[in-house]
């Protein structure tokens, strides 16, 4: 009986013949790759390769910081970009490391799975000749009636796998260690698969949603300010649901720290049904076809501009929060269609109007009005600069909706008219008699909509991973043997048998001596009890 724990050094048995050198090289490289040492080196490389991913800004995490890095380091950034330093975890070198590692892993566990399956089916090996050479050894006198079957029964009761050969008992325990270890490594592969599934077939998009039915959004690619679809997903695959933000509540502590958020939405499901739902941070809206996560919130001031001809338009503009805890918002309200002469119906390209500035949910009592004093709307005010001229929207230059085209200001085509702070209901009359009125605000939320298949596979893999890990770390493989020498075979213990026991821990197992002693004691007690019982009968 051979042991099966050590991997055979080479594919055994092949008769010696000339090996193709290429094959030999391949086989050698494969053996190298699947060695523990290589696995260790690759693990280290993986850890080291991840470090730049935390030091340098990453596109996937924070694209704005990447842009800022390009501005701050104009020479270095493009070079770093070429080697994928701003997307480390998708870069070729990072992928190469983990793919090699996983190849090594598979190459390592496949033979071990085969060996372990074989071991699970095989029987505990026969006892070595000299049990006293084993790490644990004991000899006990037993009644003459002692027999191997009774000892085997004791061991079986203690969940050992037992094989009786004549007057010898072989037993083994702790297969769980290797089973756990293999399950653990297999589930690592499953985790990788789950991640791959998610990135191939998943998609996600971000957008800002202002309250109100007129601002509802439907799930199409164009409706996202930023979206990314996996390589196996087409725009047409996006499930057609729509969302309307009905209401948004944020509670704050007196210190200004947020206490809770709640968004109420109406969902139009792809099947045409309609329902309302609440969701918040930590409890996303789970639609059948995607999940909707609340990422942030802010206020959209409602601004009414009445032009010099007396025609007014109202615009609800989300002012993006600047990152301060008190929700100071920054934004632009543009009125490109203002000041169209009602007689000619012609647009005057140099008569467009825009207002650029801040929104303060709680304006401080005194100037400067540059930052909100509290995140709730206690004293809402806009602080705006008015511009008139050509906004540059017609030139076909794509501009951000949330920012004024600074080039137009710089080249003098857009002129600044002055600035003003407006509370709710206040009106500002400009030099040409046109007016701007601040009517109030609507809340907005920023959402991430995400579909990530493979999550349940990931979760299942993680559960198996943990269970396997525990088995692997805390399982202990060990063997014991018992040999019964009957009284007549010249044993010195006249009239009684001799039971010799030996134990071998297959893996490090500090408690094995105790376990062995207990086992031997249990066998002795059982034999005595059985002996007495039999004596009583006979």
């Amino acid at each position: 009986m051979t042991t099966v724990d050590e991997r055979p050094a080479a594919p055994a048995g092949a008769p010696r013949r000339r090996v193709n050198p290429v094959l030999a090289l391949l086989r050698n490289s494969w053996r190298q790759l699947t060695s523990m040492r290589t696995a260790l080196i690759l693990l280290f490389l993986l850890a080291v390769a991840a470090i730049p991913g935390s030091v340098l800004p990453q596109r996937g995490v924070n694209p704005e910081n990447v842009n800022r890095y390009f501005i701050d380091h104009p020479d270095l950034a493009p070079k770093l970009d070429r080697i994928g330093a701003f997307a480390v975890f998708g870069s070729i070198w990072f992928s190469a490391i983990y793919l090699l590692l996983f190849t090594s892993l598979v190459g390592c566990i496949l033979p071990r799975i085969r060996d372990h399956l074989r071991a699970l089916r095989s029987r505990p090996p026969a006892a070595p000749k000299r049990l006293d050479r084993l790490p644990q050894h004991a000899v006990l006198a037993a009644p003459a009636t002692a027999d191997a079957q009774a000892i085997a029964a004791v061991l079986r009761r203690r969940r050992w796998r037992v094989q009786v050969r004549g007057n010898e008992v072989s037993a083994e325990k702790g297969y769980l260690k290797e089973t756990g270890n293999l399950l653990f490594h297999i589930s690592l592969v499953a985790v990788l698969l789950g991640v791959a599934l998610g990135s191939w077939y998943g998609w996600h998009g971000n957008r800002l949603l202002v309250a109100g039915a007129e601002n509802a959004f439907c799930n199409t690619r164009q409706q996202y300010s930023e979206a990314s679809l996996g390589p196996r997903v087409d725009s047409a695959d996006l499930p057609p649901f729509c969302l309307t933000l009905d209401d948004f509540h944020a509670k704050f502590l007196p210190s200004g720290q947020p206490a809770s958020f709640r968004a109420t939405v109406t969902v139009d499901e792809p099947d045409g049904s309609k329902r309302t739902a609440d969701f918040s941070v930590n409890s996303p809206l789970r639609l059948g076809s995607a999940n909707v996560y609340l990422l942030g919130h802010g206020y959209a001031p409602i601004l009414k501009y009445t032009d010099r001809y007396g025609r007014s338009q109202t615009s609800t503009v989300p002012f993006l929060t600047t990152g301060d805890a008190n929700l100071t918002g920054e934004g632009v309200a543009a009125f490109p269609d203002a000041n169209v002469d009602p007689k000619t119906g012609k647009r005057a390209p140099d008569q467009q109007v825009a207002f650029d500035g801040l929104y303060l949910p709680t304006a401080p009592d005194a100037a400067p009005f540059v930052a909100s004093a509290f995140p709730e709307e206690r004293n809402p005010a806009v602080v705006l600069v008015a511009y008139r001229g050509n906004l540059g929207l017609d030139a076909g230059i794509p501009g951000s909706v949330y920012k004024l085209d600074q080039r137009q200001v710089d080249n003098g085509k857009l002129k600044q008219l002055g600035d003003k702070k407006l509370g709710v209901g206040e009106k500002w009359t400009l030099d040409d008699g046109s007016t701007l009125e601040f009517l109030g605000t609507k809340p907005y939320v920023t959402l991430a909509v995400r579909y990530a298949p493979g999550q349940s596979l990931l979760l299942a893999a993680c559960v198996v991973l943990l269970a396997g890990l525990m088995g692997s770390l805390f399982g202990r493989r060990r063997r014991v043997w018992f040999r019964v020498t009957p009284p007549d075979s010249g044993s010195p213990t006249n009239g009684s048998s001799l039971v010799e026991a030996g134990g071998l821990p297959r893996t490090e197992h500090p408690g094995f001596a105790d376990e062995f002693a207990q086992l031997v004691a249990a066998v002795r007690d059982d034999e005595r009890g059985a002996g007495r019982a039999r004596e009583g009968v006979e």
């Binding site: 523990m36 260790l40 935390s54 930590n282 995400r450 990530a452 890990l469």
Partner: protein, 326 residues
Amino acid sequence: MSALSDQLIMYATLTYLVAMISHAVEYALGNARAVSAKAATPARELVGAGVGGAGGTVEEPVTPAESRHSRSAARAALAGRIATWLTTLAVALHLGAVVSRGIAAERMPWGNMYEFVLTVTFIGAAAWLAVLWKQPSLRRLGLFLTLVMVLLLAFAQFKFYVQVSPLMPALQSYWFVVHVSTIIFASGIFLLGVVPAVAYLMRAGWEQGRRSFPYTLARRLPAAAGLERMTFALHAFAFPIFTFAVIAGAIWAEAAWGRAWGWDPKETWAFISWVVYAGYLHARATPSIKRNVATWIAILGFLTMLMNLFGVNFFFTGLHSYAGVS
């Protein structure tokens, strides 16, 4: 309640400090001469009785015992026992500080860096007492442990202290409690694991005959093999908990931010720590790799944990930035 917590933690730190001094006294008296261990039999722990295979201290050849030596040995043992009692007292105060902080905040006391360090160090110290209970022969490691406690607690009080405040909405989740409590627990055990790891490296050098500076400190430490086994046992215990904590964090992140894993700096460093500790377990299971190389990997693992705890919060911005540290 909050003020009570602040006072308790100050007393706990001071008590750790006195315990450390007491351990140092034990060390110094022990080093006065190769203590005639036999003469000092009352100090059962000194000889260690080889509990759990940790082995007794390997003593230098004993010269005929002079009464002066045995007196100093008895004093060393007394100092050691006092140190242990002081550590127990400090852990009790520490527990009081953690609990009263939690009561003051009306939530689990791990909402910010200060509370995090407070709780991690508590776990480490409490686990140390548990280890000491089972293996009294390791008592001398207490010097290192109390040193680490004093440094971390003092650092936390000076650098991280914040007033009690409720949790941010993103932190109000069951998974948060699960995630953070297990991370804290695992970190505490890893922290404790560093103590025998460093002690092992020093002691192993001493046993190989090195007599230069850091190794001389190891003269009175328990046998290297036992320290190494303890290092492994602690890491093997903490690793699955840490793994679970990272998974719980991913589940929470999925609910809070819409992605289970986003390579935010904290996540990246947790990944790095996990990979390094997996490397340690591999290295230790590979016979061709020397045990001290493996132990260095474990220490490296803890450095990456520290990087995550302190470095990432200060150097990088991410979703994980805790309230109250700027």
